[in-house]
Amino acid sequence: MTAESTAGPAIRVQGLEKAYGELEVLRGVDFDVARGSIFALLGSNGSGKTTTIRILATLLKADAGTAVVNGFDVATRPANVRESISLTGQFAAVDGVLSGRENLVLVARLRHLKAPGAVADDLLRRFSLADAATRRASTYSGGMRRRLDIAMSLLGDPPVIFLDEPTAGLDPEGRMEVWQTVKELAGHGTTVLLTTQHLDEAEQLADRIAILHQGRIIANGTLAELKRLLPPAKAEYVEKQPTLEEVFLAIVGNDHIRHVTGTSNQGNHG
């Protein structure tokens, strides 16, 4: 929609800080997302993933640092940023009272598209929702609702899409459907920034993965690069490659594992 600088990364985040009162959620976050790539922000609950997305989507102001999306600074050109992005929130933000088709037509109208009905029908077909088009979205399964949610984000072809935990609360089948959709998106040149707690999701989808931990990016690279952060596995009888999960736990440190053990010890003594 917006023909701004096609050079440079789709997203550039530098020194981003945000605190809620005493609680420092982001403590200097830096990362770049290349155009047309899938970038995963990986972290546990409370690591600052959603806060980062909310700042990038102009829903929240940062305390310090800069964030540039599609060449526009989120602080000074928020209206241009909103023309460049779509946000799919953690909880599928569809209108349950409206039908799937009405949801799509609504967003198409708000994006001032010509022929909103035709665009909606096209997306319903693409996302295998044509049969359920006239049913209220509240009757959809979790996977269908998330597909509708993502379809709503595609209206107007924004160059950058934020997916905040796109598979949270979905069953394995629903997850596979969403993964397939995300892969197709990036295939069409859309830049995707997704957050996830699931290591296999990042491994499946992302071109680059950044690990956000306690408000800082503590690792950033391709899956292969992240794997190299660990010493290569020693081959004795069977060579075992570290999984991303092992890499994650090793870099993050195993504080919370110790914490859990501590609690259960106390329980034993008591």
Partner: protein
Amino acid sequence: MTTYFFGDTAVLTGRTLRHVTRSVDTIITTAITPVAMMLMFVYVFGGAIDTGPVQYVDYMLPGILLITIGSGVAYTALRLFIDMRTGIFERFQSMPIARSGVLWAHVLTSLVANLISLLLVVAVALLMGFRSGAGILAWLAVAGILLLFTLALTWIAVIAGLTAKSAEGGGAFSYPLIFLPFLSSAFVPTATMPGPVRWFAENQPVTSIVDTIRDLFARQPVGDDIGIALAWCAGILVVAYGFAMAAYRRKIA
């Protein structure tokens, strides 16, 4: 962005109006409590209340209309709260639209939904014998005051909807609004009340609004009351709008 303000607000209002037309029960519920009160007051208590030569149903209808609005705006707060909780509010705010249109859509929908409820209550009152010789101008004045009162209470509802932590909390603000007419001239003449209660009743907003509407219906001169009533409505509107905007800015950067 302002070029799209009216178009975007119209699209978003169409959406929230659909919420109303697809849950007609909210309109019925809004109308049912005031109708039940009207039946109670007219057929049970009303006989014991001396309102002079005025028919009791004519006397108390203005107060009942204000109670209708008080319970109607609770649904405005609820609809807004649900939009906040489900995340669709944030979806709209992250889109290239006139952002304030999202709030205005709820406000306009509130006006329409309350108007329907008010018409239902007036229809029941007519069946119960309510009669007014008011001319078209007086009716328009009544409609104007009720509209202004609805608008003022709607912005209070917006504050509640934006700041509520639960759906129940979102509607709780409306209980005092529904109760206030009882401490006014709506159901009994204030002259029968003991000192401090009478002082409160005569100086709170509902009394001036009720007296104005009652005089308009009865084809009596409205006197100073209409000025006081309009000042109260405008004052509440301005203060509530200010707080609603402050709450909105705290939610959305």
